[in-house]
């Protein structure tokens, strides 16, 4: 009969003079670990300061270590102990301590926003009570947590990045403009040259016309002569020459076909594909034909399906 080993936190809990206090200590340490802009030493001192009245009776370092590892089992155990043993007044006290530890006249970090809400749920503190408590302690209402999964968050918190991006875009635009000007200049030069060349060509053309007429008469004579010869030599003989087939263009592969469905040339970029798809989808969407006959709608939905599958295929291939 073997028992699984006791985890460090379980041992701490068993050795502690008061299990609730140890559990509270771990949860507060968890909050502290998620505070930002605080050094390790400050965290330790703050925890010691909070736990003066706790009957934990052991060193704080292992608790902080467990909190740093974010050991889910230990935190769950602490939460269960706390929930089991805390009365209503007591739980408000714990909430109070958690809020002071989380803020301390600093800003509430994003993780702590959620941790505090979790603790409030655990201790049966209603959102309204939490808000009042938070306002009393910090002087500002508990705001909704910011959302780093949104673009707007990073526009506020990393404005430098966006400024740099805007600068880069501007330089790119400028370069494009310069390139365009250059192209226009070249175009003008080319046109001038062409005009000159056209003039020279017109002169040469007349000369060539004369030559061609002479050539033609000569060729006709030659051809007649040849025909006569052929008729003489191959009069009954079968022709065994196989026809040389004109080389047809290579069969369009699936990508080209899909591009053609979207009305694009081969080699179109992803952005172009997406734009074309939008336009075509709007144009051929079956919902546009709902006033027309069933047949029209069926046709439109078939077209729409074709466009959609072409787009899906292209999006798959553009890696």
């Amino acid at each position: 009969m073997s028992i699984a080993r006791f985890s460090p936190f379980e041992l701490l809990l068993l050795k502690s003079r008061s299990q609730v206090d140890t559990a509270k200590l771990l949860l507060l340490a968890w909050v502290l670990v998620h505070r930002q802009h605080v050094s390790e030493g400050q965290r330790r001192r703050r925890l010691a300061q909070v736990s003066v009245h706790f009957r934990h009776g052991h060193d704080l370092a292992p608790i902080i270590h467990i909190a740093q590892q974010q050991d889910l089992k230990a935190i769950q155990l602490a939460a269960e102990v706390l929930r089991k043993e805390c009365s209503k007044e007591h739980s408000l006290g714990v909430m109070h301590q958690a809020i002071t530890v989380a803020t301390d006249s600093g800003e509430l970090s994003l993780a702590n926003h959620y941790i505090l809400r979790f603790l409030a749920d655990l201790l049966n503190v209603a959102p309204l009570t939490l808000n009042t408590l938070f306002q009393e302690l910090t002087g500002s209402p508990l705001a909704a947590p910011e959302d780093p999964s949104r673009d707007a968050y990073w526009r506020i918190h990393d404005a430098d990045y966006y400024a740099q991006k805007a600068r880069e875009a501007e330089t790119a635009q400028q370069q494009a403009r310069e390139a365009q000007e250059k192209a226009e200049r070249q175009e003008r030069e080319r046109q001038q040259e062409e005009a000159e060349r056209a003039h020279a060509k017109a002169q040469a053309e007349a000369e060539r016309e004369r030559n061609r007429q002479q050539e033609q008469t000569r060729r006709q004579e030659q051809r007649e002569r040849k025909k006569r010869q052929q008729q003489e030599s191959q009069e009954g003989a079968k022709q065994r020459n196989s026809y040389q087939r004109a080389s047809s263009p290579p069969p369009p592969d699936r990508t080209t076909r899909a591009l053609a469905v979207l009305g694009l040339m081969p080699g179109a970029s992803q952005v172009e594909v997406r734009k074309a798809y939008r336009r075509m989808a709007q144009l051929h969407h079956p919902d546009r034909f709902y006033t027309e006959s069933e047949h029209q709608i069926a046709l439109a939905s078939a077209r729409f399906q074709r466009i959609k599958s072409a787009y899906d295929y292209l999006m798959h291939t553009y890696r």
Binding site: H34, Q70, L72, E80, P127, L130, P148, Y161, Q270
Partner: protein
């Protein structure tokens, strides 16, 4: 906060290339823009991942403690992280079980102590006797 990995259908361990592809294929333009803002810069992604880890941990804790639908998590606070409640055992009960088991084992060991002492002295005594006999026979043979 939303779980962008889940919404784009990639794993959180995906490398940059896979992520970029997933972002490019995302049909929702607003989500695409947000995902670009987060995943294009390594620093942003790192900080986002940290919050994500904490939130998913809290989500697991809530599921295990039966707090999935707690008052503070209604609305769109962190819906992506609200897992269905699981039937995991209470850690506290488990701990109590283990402690009681350990106590029973300890008591049994204590109770067996007298018998064990006898057996051990017997084995040691026979061992010494055999050893002495062996050395004696060796010397006599010599």
């Amino acid at each position: 906060m939303r779980d962008l990995y889940q919404r784009l259908g990639v794993s959180p361990q995906a490398n940059d290339e896979e992520l970029q592809h997933a972002v490019a294929r995302c049909p929702n333009s607003a989500l695409r823009q947000d995902a670009k803002a987060v995943f294009e810069v390594p620093k942003h992604r790192e900080s986002y991942n940290q919050t994500l880890t904490t939130l998913s941990d809290i989500g697991q804790l809530r599921a295990r403690l039966g707090l999935t639908h707690g008052a503070h998590w209604q609305g769109d606070v962190a819906n992506d992280f609200s897992l269905p409640a699981d039937q995991a055992v209470s850690r506290h009960d488990e701990l109590v079980d283990r402690v009681s088991q350990a106590v029973v084992l300890y008591n049994r060991l204590r109770g067996l102590r007298g018998i064990w002492l006898l057996i051990v002295t017997f084995i040691v005594g026979t061992g010494i006797g055999v050893g002495l006999g062996f050395t004696l026979s060796q010397t006599l043979a010599a």
